[in-house]
């Protein structure tokens, strides 16, 4: 087995430290997609969240359409669409058309979602998300297989429970960047056991997302990266861990910073040889597609493009 490398996830945020207008941010995204295609990446991936002050991409399938219109060979994925907030009929009808117009290059990653305000905006109770996922996912899987051409559905997971749901349906996983190697191994065991119990022939290869930054000069780049990484991780941490009513700002930030330090341990950063060595560790676990996020917040263009070009050299080292 060799590893395919995807680029992403892209979330297209006008972050406070560099709040470019979204017209420019999406123009940059389309340029990055062209670069990724020229450099031979397997795929490029878009993220989805709603009602956030920096304009985090809320419509990944439409942004995917724009990328498919600009490119000709690279696959375009959602990582991940928050399925329980949507109408599954809408998602299936959109995906089938976008995939056909894009010559079969769409990959649909879906997951639960977790942020209360997003569910509430669409009049969905967050507590219903598991039940909704149980209902929607089999229907989406069926329609994806029946589509012309069919498109792949990955299930975004950060817990064993979510992996078991995917295992029962025989759908491949898109594992979250926050899980370390031990957690990934345990999660895959739960997945395979659920598939066996359900009598399902589940795939043995899955996708994994990692935060990855290729640089030949860590001392030079780290001071520029750290604020962006902190911003990104603080945002996701805050969504998972809302502020308590009586919690002071200082206490809340301290709580989030503890989470940031834990998550930063999963970051893979260094030169081509180091990054390639780190990524190969996941191959033996069963991940043949690694989606590498090098865009944290809104990095300066030259910094991001240098990292993407470095990552393309890693691609030459690790496989396809």
């Amino acid at each position: 087995m060799s590893i395919r490398l995807g680029l992403g996830i892209f979330s297209v945020q006008a972050v406070p430290q560099r709040p470019d207008h979204h017209v420019k941010l999406y123009a940059d995204l389309l340029e990055d997609a062209e670069l990724a295609e020229a450099l031979g990446f397997d795929s490029i991936w878009l993220s989805e969240h709603h009602f956030w002050f920096d304009g985090y991409c809320p419509a990944d399938i439409v942004a995917a359409g724009a990328i498919l219109g600009r490119t000709t060979t690279i696959r375009v994925g959602t990582a991940v669409m928050l399925l329980p907030m949507h109408s599954v009929e809408k998602v299936a009808a959109d995906a089938a058309i976008v995939n056909r117009l894009g010559d079969g290059r769409l990959v649909l990653g879906v997951a639960l979602g977790y942020r209360d305000n997003e569910f509430d905006g669409f009049s969905v109770r967050r507590k219903d998300r598991g039940r909704l996922m149980d209902s929607m996912l089999p229907r989406l899987a069926d329609t994806s297989r029946a589509a012309d051409p069919p498109y792949a559905v990955y299930v975004g997971v950060a817990t064993a429970v979510a992996a078991q749901r995917a295992g029962r349906l025989g759908l491949p996983l898109f594992a979250d960047s926050t899980m370390n190697a031990t957690e990934l191994k345990e999660m895959l065991e739960a997945y395979n056991e659920a598939a066996r119990s359900a009598g399902v022939d589940a795939p043995s290869h899955h996708a994994l997302q990692r935060d990855v930054f290729v640089t030949g000069d860590l001392d030079r780049d780290w001071p520029r990266l750290l604020p962006e990484l902190r911003y990104m991780r603080r945002q996701y941490g805050a969504w998972s861990n809302p502020r308590e009513p009586d919690e002071s700002t200082a206490d809340y930030l301290a709580r989030l910073d503890g989470d940031i330090e834990a998550k930063l341990k999963n970051l893979i950063i260094g030169d081509v040889a180091h990054v390639a060595q780190e990524l190969r560790r996941f191959e033996s676990l069963g991940f043949d597609l690694i989606v590498c996020r090098s865009q944290f917040g809104n990095l300066p263009r030259e910094l991001l493009r240098g990292a993407i070009e470095g990552l393309s050299r890693v691609r030459g080292e690790v496989g396809r």
């Binding site: 009602f51 304009g55 809408k90 009808a93 117009l101 219903d128």
Partner: protein, 243 residues
């Protein structure tokens, strides 16, 4: 007068076919090219397809959308991203849906900090299980255009003035093009064999936007040659291009 191509049905279409039609529309001087979803038949993706075509051609791109099929806030988000990726070239025609749904869609696209309380839709919903929810929320990012052109047809047409949207109608022999509402001309969906003089008669003294259907790129070129000149300027000198 303005002239658009379409709507091109997405059912059964390939990306290369749509791109060929869109390029022909540019070559024939159409102002826009439109696609149409049909969710009743399981065909969606109108805005994603529009976003895709906007990367292929430099003219405006329209999408005929089925409004009532899903939450209007999702449609607002999809319109916003299609508009931003196309750098402000998206237009929309809504089929179906309710006045309340159009109100929420238009309010969301305006960039307002929303607190919508309609007969069936509430934003934020403030469902008991979702506390604490904010008092208001906003579509972010908002579209690139200050106001995305939106038209409605059918039962909603009678409300277009109040909703701040344009009115659309299907061509029928001798029918008048819909009257402009606010800044939006009436939109008339016409067959490919329409003649310039009958279209101009249907508009009378008002501006109008004619959306003309075609099946092949050759049709597009032929329709463009027949209609674009006379629609753009009165008393078109039809001898001017004679060989």
């Amino acid at each position: 007068m303005r002239i658009g191509l379409g709507p091109l049905p997405l059912a059964g279409a390939s990306g290369s076919q749509l791109a060929a039609m869109a390029r022909a529309a540019v070559a024939a001087s159409f102002d826009s090219v439109w696609v149409a979803e049909s969710r009743g038949e399981g065909v969606g993706g109108g805005l994603a397809a529009a976003a895709m075509l906007a990367q292929v051609v430099p003219i405006r791109v329209g999408a005929v959308l089925d409004l009532g099929a899903y939450h209007p806030l999702y449609m607002a988000e999809d319109i916003a991203i299609a508009d931003i990726t196309s750098q402000g070239r998206i237009e929309v025609l809504l089929r179906g849906g309710s006045v309340e749904q159009v109100q929420l869609l238009v309010a969301a696209l305006s960039g307002a900090h929303l607190q919508f309380r309609g007969p069936t839709l509430r934003v934020p919903a403030h469902l008991e299980a979702n506390q604490p929810a904010p008092e208001r929320l906003a579509l972010n990012p908002a579209p690139a255009q200050p106001a995305v052109p939106i038209w409605v047809e059918g039962a909603l047409s009678g409300h277009s003035q109040d909703l701040g949207v344009g009115t659309a109608a299907q061509w029928a022999g001798g029918v008048a093009a819909p009257a402009p509402t606010g800044r939006w001309p009436g939109l008339l969906l016409c067959p490919g064999d329409s003649q310039a003089d009958e279209l101009l008669r249907s508009a009378g003294a008002e501006p109008a936007y004619f959306l003309v259907s075609a099946v092949t790129p050759e049709d597009v070129v032929s329709i463009g040659r027949r209609l674009v000149g006379p629609l753009r300027m009165p008393e078109f000198p039809d001898w001017i291009g004679a060989q």
